[in-house]
Subunit: 270 residues, 2 copies
Amino acid sequence: MKIGVFDSGFGGLTVLRALLQRVPAEYVYLGDTARLPYGAKSRETVARYAVSSAKFLVDEQGTEFLVIACNTASALALEEIRDAVGVPVLGVVETGANAAEASSKTRDVMVIATAATVESHAYAAACAERRLRAIEKACPLLVPLLEEGWIEHPVTAEVVRIYMAELMEQARAAGLNADTLVLGCTHYPLLRAQIEKAVPERLRVIDSAEVTAEQVAQRLRIPESGAGATARFFATDSVTKFRALGSRFLGQEIDGVKLVDLERRGTGSR
Amino acid sequence: MKIGVFDSGFGGLTVLRALLQRVPAEYVYLGDTARLPYGAKSRETVARYAVSSAKFLVDEQGTEFLVIACNTASALALEEIRDAVGVPVLGVVETGANAAEASSKTRDVMVIATAATVESHAYAAACAERRLRAIEKACPLLVPLLEEGWIEHPVTAEVVRIYMAELMEQARAAGLNADTLVLGCTHYPLLRAQIEKAVPERLRVIDSAEVTAEQVAQRLRIPESGAGATARFFATDSVTKFRALGSRFLGQEIDGVKLVDLERRGTGSR
């Protein structure tokens, strides 16, 4: 089984990391690093970029199942991607909302994400479809802190503490009795321990990387934990930078990243 | 006198703020907010964007002098801009390096900037031309902290303290006897007090906004402090966001921002 995993950058590697541990397959990961960040771009542009990336993974790499490990692309372009490729597609907003539905007894949930994801209200919409009440909070400093490499760092712990206190206050003001917190950004699993320390114990923290791997396993009816999974990597910008930054997210060294130019293939833009 | 001030976003408003206090003129400010950030983009793309922005300010708005209040555009595209418009052009890398030359007695200087500016080594090159030794340090968390609105904030003070300690260590390791620190990002003047608190007193801090205003005054031979300066504003993305974020950098309310679409004019790109 060949599975494609797509993100605009590195965050999707936390999803791949969970997949490698759970679902045995030949993975092909594409990070569209030349065109990141997707977050601030229009729906049309994000769709054009994401579709060209998805087509590369399916048409050129022969993957038979596609995981959209990018919150912005999942929020803005999932239908366009489904229309463009002939294989099953699963996006992280969907899998996060599914897991929130399964977890929440009070039907009230909280989501933290980047500013762009929060502004799209994709999680709130996906939660509403599942009859969950949701509040969303943007945590714009967390990705820059992770990119600076400040993971186990007192400044990061303090920023997480401030954001979580604001989130609890926002939930209180909205009258929510939330029992579930969705990490709505693929970078955040690296901060899971610090986030759990900063919220009340009754809150169940949903890591979209983990639940995505679980839902891929369910879809493919693969019961046991994965062994023998392999991965190959493509990036659209500097492979050196991809290796250096990416290994932090994957939790292991990355070798053999190949550069791919999606713009010159006529499937991209410019 | 009509003076154009250009930046990819909001940071250039600190330069405009200094200009408004120093040089009486009719200012036209353009923030190319639809295409920011410039930092991660190629030299060709930055030049195309910056030239179309400069042409708008000169050809359509009739400005007679141009200030490039954007470090990336100054670093990567100053010659292209000069070739494209028929008016004098001054860029912030130039003005910062000029001020460092005037300030430094030891001929050793330090520059802090965004990762993109540091990677371009534009300040190091401009300093070398002036026979100054320079070390450059990227401070990638400062812009996100300012955009979060955490200006007078303990987390920001701590991040500044850590970066400045790293900078001092870097200077020591390089054997530099620096007496001057250039703020090589137009966002940083908002953090000047915190930066000065975190470095030894002997270091003179050069605020590129202030020194740019001073050098514009010299070029235009305007000796006295400005009174009667006015400003109009254009942005290529949401004017609401421009007003909200921009007033922080300008230090006063911004009204009457006009939206301009540079891409549809055939001078820009997609």
